[in-house]
Subunit: 215 residues, 4 copies
């Protein structure tokens, strides 16, 4: 089994992007499954092109994108991606779509194929806070989750896709009042726990499938 | 123009449901548009039947459902409803669907037809906190929002539908630590501000339409 | 019985100060006790001079100062004032003491003479969130609470003093993300509930007296 | 220079107390200063007796007590301890003082002799969130901080005392919704950063001294 795990490149003048730093620290193999790590641009559409090229090159069984949602208290696998870009701030190339459809022929939303509730339990068993999230927002994170699902619906029917939001890291909240944070190392260990569950349950999906290509 | 506004009945042994109390305090007319107020059961499916009957009886132009999301800091119009019931607790008749599709032939999600960003601005101009929400959860609130959208997609193409989550009221947080709250009266005034915007902008929708019957 | 209740004047270029607006809305008489309302400057030391003059003029039995602590979720009577000014921002006249003793001959701290737990219960019974606070901070709020206590310790032994922090009002959080708020009118009603308790329990103090003039 | 650092024993049926676990992981020497680690009981008065015995045995220059304040977002050195026990729950031996004076002959409050602002800066420079706190509460944490200060005021004039509150650890919040947390290892590294500052600035105190024996 092959797992493609992505993290965004540094955003808005920052030197590092914690999501990518945590992905980089993942082991190269999890339960005999290969982990391919990929840094992707924090840019609408271009992020999707980079992922698509990697899917074509590596033929992964699973695509898991990781992004940061400052303010969250734990590891939050996303349930659903919606067909909507709505950016409060520009991406790394200055794009700022407002209430734009991502794919005109895409479904209004796609649900993840990953066992998100088992992944949450796996993180908790490893000693870290986690919960299922029902929104990936409307910025580049939801965008890439949606785009991967659209690729699955249209081109790669055997791939499973999903997205996980992670909290701020400690260094980022030093100048912020009252914001939860985790270390890169702990985020990475928690992500590893989700990958273990994905591999263990590769034949299961704890969401009844809805909203696939039939819509 | 006719506005059908609903609130849920008391839930889980409570004597009142704040959402319905706030709806009851709305004026009967807003900018010459009639406001029809309806209490609906906090029950999967049955809530939808009650709304459907009211749509058939009253022929409203707009259906706006109101529910409570304890923990939110202001008035939050919802952007999207997803085709998924996932209840952590039972509804008022003991139903507790887990990861269930709401409508097998429904779209994975429906976006509201209401001008949610203008509604948020209307509430703020009236002096109350508000923001667009991208998730109505997976309990009865998302359920009724989804069901109304499904009715619109399949039976009532001229109706506009939407949902607003409101915070706890003050009385509810007296025994809770550190939870935001508003008075019923203030919630009602804020809801009125959203209805004014809906009437004023009846020919507009600030989301580009996606995910309708074509999917 | 005479109650002197103060609120600060507008701070930092604001047009209104919610604490004073809430005080202004208090009734003039509570359970036959006269309520004297006084706006005081948001200025170290000068605020204390204004209160002292009012004590000399009105001979109140109780001095209750009201201030705002943005971020608090309810009405929070303060237990204790400490002998320390430490201002992160300048007051309305540009004073910004850092780790300064307020009164060289004062006690390190003074506990309120008011029945703060009963006051909290009174607010809750009126339907609003409330809790005892153990810190009034180190800005002008703690300063005036401390100064009144110092006056009581040194000049007005029959006066009872205390301080209540109130949350943001709704209008203030319209541009702030995720901050709790109450309306001026609700804050005022909650403050009235504390005054009722003060009058009812005028011969009681639910803190065993410590740290008075003997130190 | 000798540093006595304490952590509480497990409380309320828990198997570990994170504060003590973090203390245990501290190095034995910091900048040539010896670090003596002591587990103390989560019990009013008895905790103070244990610390006093250790002061007599080890003759430390600094006594730093560590405790947990669930809900805090970072490392929070305390500014002041107040002469007040007020326990919402019983301690480990069933004591539950309500509004009780700790020391009849003690000052109403004592300020720490430690350079708390420099300690905060040290933690931030190490990459962890931190801020000065103005209340240690009214449970065993404030109690031990007060008692150590009382000992300093009455018996050990050359000792410097202080207290630091630390957040929940990750394992503790797995079953709690939306609570900030840090790993034991990160808490320990942050505490080490405060000790470095204490040693470096052993001749400084960034609070002007107030409320000592002279009152």
């Amino acid at each position: 089994m092959k797992l493609l795990v992505t993290g965004f490149d540094p955003f808005g003048g920052e030197k590092i992007n914690p999501a990518w730093e945590a992905v980089k620290e993942l082991p190269d193999t999890i339960l005999d499954s290969e982990v391919i790590k990929l840094e992707i641009p924090t840019v609408f559409n271009k992020s999707a092109e980079v992922v698509k090229e990697a899917i074509n090159n590596h033929k992964p069984d699973v695509v898991l994108n990781i992004g940061q949602a400052g303010g969250r208290f734990g590891i939050t696998p996303e349930r659903v991606a919606i067909n909507m870009d709505d950016a409060r701030i520009p991406d790394n190339e200055g794009n700022q779509p407002i209430d734009e459809v991502i794919q005109k022929n895409g479904a209004p939303a796609y649900f993840t194929q990953l066992p998100i509730k088992a992944m949450v339990e796996g993180v908790k068993a490893a000693g870290y806070p986690a919960s299922v999230s029902n929104t990936a927002g409307t910025f580049v994170c939801n965008h890439i989750m949606y785009q991967v699902q659209y690729m699955i619906a249209t081109e790669f029917p055997n791939v499973k896709g999903g997205f996980i939001h992670v909290p701020y890291i400690h260094e980022q909240v030093v100048t912020k009042a009252s914001m939860p944070s985790m270390s890169i190392s702990d985020i990475s260990k928690a992500l590893e726990a989700t990958l273990v569950k994905i591999v263990e349950l590769k034949d299961q999906n704890d969401l009844k499938l809805v909203g696939g290509a039939e819509h």
